[in-house]
């Protein structure tokens, strides 16, 4: 039995680094400190029965196990033959593997995209447009007295975010308010239980739906000293239940609300009474709370990046933060999803200058989300081969994208037999990053954290970095062979032409 301390959790962008893991007979048997999502993967998920143990190639419509060399050769051949291949995924892989991925993309002249394209890519674009006043989670933990969660639900998506970095944590300068929040949550749960019981007894009549406005007026507690939490969302989530104030907005109206808040913060009068279903008077109270806090932090999620307006929503949120910084201290930070999607952006930017949606077809990197992002490429049907690594677009992408992806060869690198692996033409097994091999990953606030290896991988399976290196070498070998053949053919053609000329001259002389 071995015990590992300070293990980093490879699930979400929080990268909690305080896990205590017990390993017995090369199996994780116990895990301490992690959330339910972490336990699901670290203790049970990684030992799944769906684990791919051998590389496979599709022959006559069926996946057949082959040797690693054969699979690598086949994959490299597909990539070299393609005119416009696409490499996608990367967010659940290490930075070391991502680096090789960029090298492979450059060698192939392919397009390169990562999962930011379907999550926080718009946040990166907005940062390029306007910049970002941000801070590390450590700073927010110790200093922030106003936390705003906008269009995200960390209680479900990043379960330890509130506990480790914001409202529930005991900071050096800000006390934890967890008791109040837990009491509130218990009250809400009790209320729900009573409602459910009276429903069963047939005595339940649903409360009348508000006719005018679905938002409650802000309580006085958002103006108090000490930690405060405001949640802005389109529905009442568990995080919203715990918050001091829940601002329910109409879907796709975030831009308008941010814009109205900016006007209020800049002392402008608004002509209208309501914005996005929220009375302007309520927004004035929220603006007051934002101005009067000592250190505010806005965390935003996919509700902003993937709703109407996309990166413009983030741009206006950052503009609001910028305006607030004239009055007080305010920071803004995206709630990044996969544990190393930030890393993918950083590695790509460090290697090519651009964080995602990169095209190498001209021999140099070009960047343009909307043109080189995976779903736009697939929906237009631009690519003629795809490599997917540590990601499952098969489970998440629109039908039109997947239909076009399936028209051409597909190579997959995933530890599990997930939806995309089932569709692959060449299917590689992989090790679980952060469990079976170590590496580096970036937390959501762009802090690099080393991942630990705690168990040995099944025999014969390479990690992402080794596998990509071998594919890259094979690609180089095939390309070298091709150019050799081409030069040989050219040489033969030239010598044949020379002999034809010589014989023509000779015959001329003879005739003369």
């Amino acid at each position: 039995m071995t015990e590992f301390k300070s293990v980093v959790c490879p699930i979400c962008g929080c990268l909690c680094d305080d896990l205590e893991i017990t390993v017995e007979n090369n199996e994780i048997v116990k895990m301490k400190n992690g959330c339910a999502v972490c336990e699901a993967k670290m203790v049970y998920g990684y030992k799944s029965e769906e684990r791919i143990l051998k590389p496979m190639i599709r022959k006559d419509g069926k996946l057949v196990p082959v040797t690693m060399d054969e699979a690598i050769h086949k994959a490299a051949q597909i990539l070299v033959d393609a005119k416009y291949p696409l490499l996608y995924g990367w967010s659940s892989s290490t930075n070391e593997a991502q680096r090789i991925g960029v090298e492979l993309a450059e060698e192939l002249g392919s397009t390169l995209d990562n999962c930011a394209s379907i999550c926080h890519g718009p946040s990166v674009m907005a940062t390029q447009e306007i910049g970002i006043p941000t801070a590390t989670l450590g700073q927010i933990r110790h200093r922030a007295d106003l936390i705003v969660y906008w269009a995200c639900n960390p209680w479900t998506s990043h379960p330890r975010h509130v506990e480790r970095y914001t409202a529930f944590t005991e900071g050096r300068f800000e006390k934890s308010e967890w008791k109040n929040y837990m009491l509130k949550l218990k009250g809400e749960t009790g209320k729900k239980k009573i409602e459910a019981a009276s429903k069963r007894l047939g005595q339940y009549s649903p409360p009348p739906r508000p006719q005018v406005c679905m938002v409650d007026a802000p309580p006085k507690s958002i103006q108090k000293m000490g930690r405060k939490m405001i949640v802005v969302d389109v529905r009442k989530t568990k995080t919203a239940e715990a918050a001091d104030y829940f601002l329910q907005v109409e879907p796709n109206k975030d831009y308008e609300i941010f814009s109205a808040l900016r006007c209020l913060v800049n002392d402008q009068e608004l002509d209208i009474d309501k914005v996005g279903g929220v009375p302007v008077d309520y927004l004035k109270d929220v603006a007051d709370a934002m101005i009067n806090c000592e250190f505010g932090a806005i965390f935003f999620g996919l509700g902003l990046t993937q709703s109407l307006g996309r990166f413009r929503n983030i741009e206006v949120a950052i503009a609001l933060t910028r305006d607030l910084n004239r009055r007080t201290k305010f920071v803004i930070s995206p709630m990044r999803g996969h544990f190393n999607v930030t890393g993918a952006n950083i590695v790509f930017a460090w290697q090519t200058g651009y964080p995602y949606a990169i095209d190498f077809s001209q021999g140099y990197p070009q960047y343009n989300p909307g043109e080189f992002t995976i779903n736009d490429l697939l929906r237009r049907g631009d690519n003629d081969a795809t490599l997917v690594i540590s990601s499952d677009p098969g489970a998440h992408f629109p039908k039109s994208s997947m239909q076009n992806m399936m028209k051409h060869p597909l190579i997959t690198i995933n530890p599990d037999m997930n939806a995309i692996s089932r569709l692959g033409d060449v299917v590689f097994p992989a090790q679980w990053c952060g469990i079976e091999y170590s590496g580096t990953a970036y937390r959501m606030d762009s802090v690099p954290i080393p991942l630990k290896k705690v168990v040995e991988p099944p025999p014969g399976i390479l990690n992402d970095q080794e596998l990509l290196e071998r594919i890259l070498n094979e690609v180089r070998a095939i390309k070298a062979q091709k150019t050799e053949v081409q030069t040989k053919v050219k040489g033969e053609v030239r010598s044949a032409a020379k002999t034809v000329k010589k014989t023509a001259k000779r015959t001329k002389r003879k005739v003369a």
């Binding site: 109205a260 800049n266 209208i272 206006v316």
Partner: protein
């Protein structure tokens, strides 16, 4: 005049910034045939992908017949001459153009006329997103020129506009004239929400219906008539809004009064 016709349907994007009157000028047909293009990651020449013909007529300089939807960057940076595309045009058509004329007898894809400085683009079909909008992260939009679209346009048209005129005879998507500082945009039919967001100057004229106005605009007056450019003025009446207040802007948004009775409540502030 040079006429180009695709030899086959392209399944991957073709990068052909060499299709440009300035590039073709003073070149023989053989030299034109050897201009470099790429199809995906393959380096080819123009004659590998297109049938090239020459006749003695002077204008237009280049005629493109067929579907050019996958051919990107046609007429990039052109300064003189005229291109006629009889079919759909691909992305970045007429990007950074500084003179001349492009006529598209079909639909235009996104980023058409991006960062242009002068010249004319006529689109006798629909246009995609980011028409006359700059490259990602750039704050320098169209500085001059004239764009006419007979059909509808996508989202974020005329972002960071600094000059020039865009006339749209159909509908427009969200974020029309985002962050514009000067120039004029005219939309004849329906316009989606967030029009003129973050604008600080210039004018947007909406003669049709408007889905929703930004909260950060304030009413200024009602005008009977608005001038689009030197050649055209539109009869109203029009509500005149000023904004974007969030950016301390003084851009003008003219919205048809007759087609938008839902905005009548603004009149109480006049």
């Amino acid at each position: 005049m040079i006429t180009l016709t695709p030899l086959r349907n392209f399944d991957v994007p073709v990068h052909a910034s060499c299709i440009n009157p300035d590039e073709f000028k003073s070149k023989t047909l053989k030299e034109i045939a050897e201009l470099p293009v790429t199809e995906g990651n393959r380096n080819l020449t123009l004659s590998d992908l297109f049938k090239i013909e020459q006749d003695k007529t002077e204008t237009p300089s280049i005629t493109l017949n067929g579907d050019f939807k996958k051919v990107k960057r046609v007429g990039q940076g052109m300064k003189t001459g005229e291109i006629i595309i009889n079919g759909n045009a691909g992305m970045h058509t007429g990007e950074r153009m500084a003179g001349g004329k492009i006529v598209i007898n079909g639909n235009a894809d996104s980023w058409t006329g991006s960062e242009m400085k002068a010249g004319t683009i006529e689109i006798h079909g629909d246009a995609g997103d980011y028409l006359a909008s700059p490259y990602r992260g750039s704050g320098t939009g169209v500085k001059g020129g004239y764009i006419i679209v007979d059909g509808s346009v996508g989202n974020e048209v005329g972002c960071y506009l600094k000059g020039g005129v865009i006339k749209i005879k159909g509908n427009a998507g969200i974020f029309l004239g985002y962050h514009m500082t000067d120039g004029a945009i005219y939309v004849e039919k329906q316009c989606s929400s967030r029009t003129g967001a973050a604008m600080t100057g210039g004018k947007i004229i909406l003669a049709g219906t408007v889905t929703e106005l930004m909260p950060s605009f304030t009413i200024d007056s009602i005008k009977p008539k608005v001038k689009v450019d030197a050649t055209q003025s539109v009869a109203g009446p029009f509500y005149v809004f000023l904004g974007d207040l969030a950016d301390h802007g003084t851009g003008k948004l003219f919205v048809s009064k007759t087609n938008n009775p839902q905005l009548a409540f603004y009149e109480k502030y006049l």
